[in-house]
């Protein structure tokens, strides 16, 4: 085949993007040291990155990277097995292993590379790999490349997993592969149960903790801490490019096995080693997580423009930020048959006719306010905005208090106006349907009629109700004294 004919077979059809006049992929972005994102001249909140702890712009991390570059140069320009194994990489390996509670770790240039090259090094056509149906492309690619028999199991379904284990007892080597947090769904693997099943059926668990490291667990040590798993004798992989705010990946586990990986994994041995700056940055990020020194939620709040006083509104079709009772009605079957706008409108109309407006007394950190004609009420944390809570621009960067939003003066006109603006992506005008009450760490709500309270998209029960910030999740990381 001629090259010109070859390329005709290797085209991407972008006609849909052309017709829409918009392609969401490969957008050119600028980002400043406050985490503010600029695309096509417009400033955006970055809710798409995996910088869960806001460490990518943290001075401790960025300074460590600059100092490493000044001390060791941009790159060792060598493979780790030969001339690229910088001292700082060895230090990072020790710190990463200690962080997740395993004997030893080895650093790869990326976790994708770690996953794709790990499986061909440990399994072949005589073996079986049981893997979660929704596992990441890097795991799938590595597993396929190994030539092992593949047995997917239904996502996070331990009963289906056990059936696969029971049907695989004649295999030489047997692995069970999953992720800790599935990034597109937010679901967390029941790893403790899976490990027990592996022990019962003689399988080796392999966990990719890319979205859990630095986030899950009381001290941010990842899925093993979160699930209280001790003496994990499986294989652990994780990205250093998400909560740990850098590039690279690790494979961790028993010391003897990690030595095997060092000398038998081509994706490690024959690839230029991670640059010193990234190793030092990840090391600083691990130190920050270990000593608990960075404010959670900083990734969101650092982007706040204190000069702007506008209200912004985040919402999704599943829960448009109207509070528990309204959201539940709107999420009902009626929307499924009539579509978002008409379905939601009819649902809300039903709620408006069914509920009587109430008088609500809200005590925020000891300060009492009484609001009349309230139809619904919602509470949210400033870093949890996906439920549709509206958040003010001027929130300070360390603010982690609860925010209260109420639905007031619900009328036919207000519903139509709010929905029309909501579904066209515009902010809900103040004074129309929504009324904010402010924010605090402890919010007590009482009401003249039974009113259900929503907190971060979930029901928090009926009035009277007390909602406080959760120290475990919010105080995981705090400022350096």
């Amino acid at each position: 085949m001629k090259s010109s004919d070859l390329y005709k077979t290797l085209r991407t059809d972008l006609s849909l993007a052309d017709r829409a006049g918009f392609n969401p992929y490969y957008r050119k972005m600028l980002r400043d040291m406050q985490g503010k994102l600029t695309v096509d001249g417009k400033v955006f909140f970055d809710l798409a990155s995996n910088d869960y702890l806001g460490l990518a712009t943290n001075p401790r991390v960025t300074t460590a990277m600059l100092e490493a570059t000044a001390a060791f140069g941009a790159s060792f320009c060598g493979t780790p097995i030969a001339a690229g194994y910088a001292q700082v990489i060895a230090e990072l390996e020790d710190a990463a292993a200690a962080m997740v509670g395993l004997e030893s770790a080895v650093v790869f240039p990326s976790c994708y590379q770690a996953n794709t090259s790990l499986f061909p090094s440990i399994a072949n056509s005589n073996d079986t790999i049981i893997v979660d149906h929704d596992a990441h492309a890097s795991l799938v690619g590595g597993i396929k490349a190994s030539g092992a028999r593949i047995r997917p199991f239904l996502h996070n379904n331990v009963n289906h997993l056990e059936k696969q284990l029971a049907a695989s007892q004649d295999q030489r080597r047997l692995f069970v592969v999953t992720e800790s947090v599935f990034s597109t769904q937010g679901s967390i693997a029941p790893l403790d149960i899976m490990v027990n099943l592996c022990n019962r059926y003689g399988a080796t668990p392999i966990i990719d903790d890319s979205h859990g490291i630095g986030v899950l667990g009381k001290n941010g040590r990842g899925i093993l801490e979160y699930k209280d798993i001790h003496d994990f004798d499986g294989i652990y992989t994780a990205s250093l490019g998400k909560a740990l705010a850098n590039a690279g990946g690790i494979v961790a586990g028993k010391k003897e096995f990690i030595e095997y990986v060092r000398y038998n994994c081509p994706g490690l041995m024959y690839s230029t080693a991670l640059v010193p700056a990234s190793a030092a940055g990840a090391l600083a990020a691990i130190a920050a997580v270990n000593v608990g020194k960075i404010e959670l939620g900083i990734a969101f709040s650092q982007q706040v423009d204190s000069a702007a006083k506008k209200t912004i509104f985040f919402g999704c079709c599943a829960n448009i930020g109207l509070g528990a009772s309204l959201a539940r009605a709107a999420n009902g079957g009626i929307r499924r048959y009539l579509g978002d706008t008409a379905g939601t409108f009819l649902s809300l109309l039903g709620v408006a006719m069914r509920y009587r407006a109430a008088t609500v007394s809200v005590t925020i950190d000891g300060h009492v306010r009484t609001v009349k004609r309230i139809s619904d009420i919602a509470v949210g944390k400033t870093r949890h905005i996906a439920s549709g809570i509206k958040v003010y621009h001027e929130l300070s960067k360390i603010d982690k208090r609860l925010y209260v939003v109420t639905v007031a003066n619900l009328s036919l006109f207000n519903i139509v106006a709010a929905l029309r603006r909501f579904y066209s992506g515009k902010p809900i005008p103040s004074g129309c349907t929504y009324l904010s009450l402010g924010y605090g760490s402890r919010i007590e709500i009482s009401c003249s009629t039974p009113l259900e309270i929503e907190c971060d998209g979930d029901s928090a029960g009926f009035c009277p109700c007390v909602i406080s910030t959760a120290p475990d999740s919010l105080d995981l990381i705090t400022e350096v004294p």
């Binding site: 149906h133 799938v140 593949i150 997917p152 239904l154 996502h155």
Partner: protein
């Protein structure tokens, strides 16, 4: 249980969502089955009937009826008598 019902039961037990599966269901378009999902269904069929499905047969398994036909004609048919 007849073969059609057995195959439908296996597919229902090996797909993520609760679809109403019929002989005319298209695995990809009607049931949202992706490549990994296809492997999952093939594994379940192999386990249930104690057979090994050849990889070259998998692309022909577009509809549920295709799977039933393939099993009837190739994998579960009695061996032909020697003349």
């Amino acid at each position: 249980m007849d073969l059609e019902s057995k195959v439908i039961e296996l597919i229902e037990a090996n797909t993520e969502k609760e679809y109403s599966v019929s002989l005319e269901s298209d695995l990809q378009n009607d049931l949202g089955v992706d490549s990994f999902g296809t492997i999952m269904i093939v594994n379940a069929i192999e386990d249930a009937f104690d057979i090994v499905v050849e990889e070259t047969d998998i692309p022909a398994m577009a509809k549920v009826s295709d799977i039933v036909s393939l099993l009837q004609t190739k994998y579960l048919s009695p061996p032909k008598e020697q003349s």
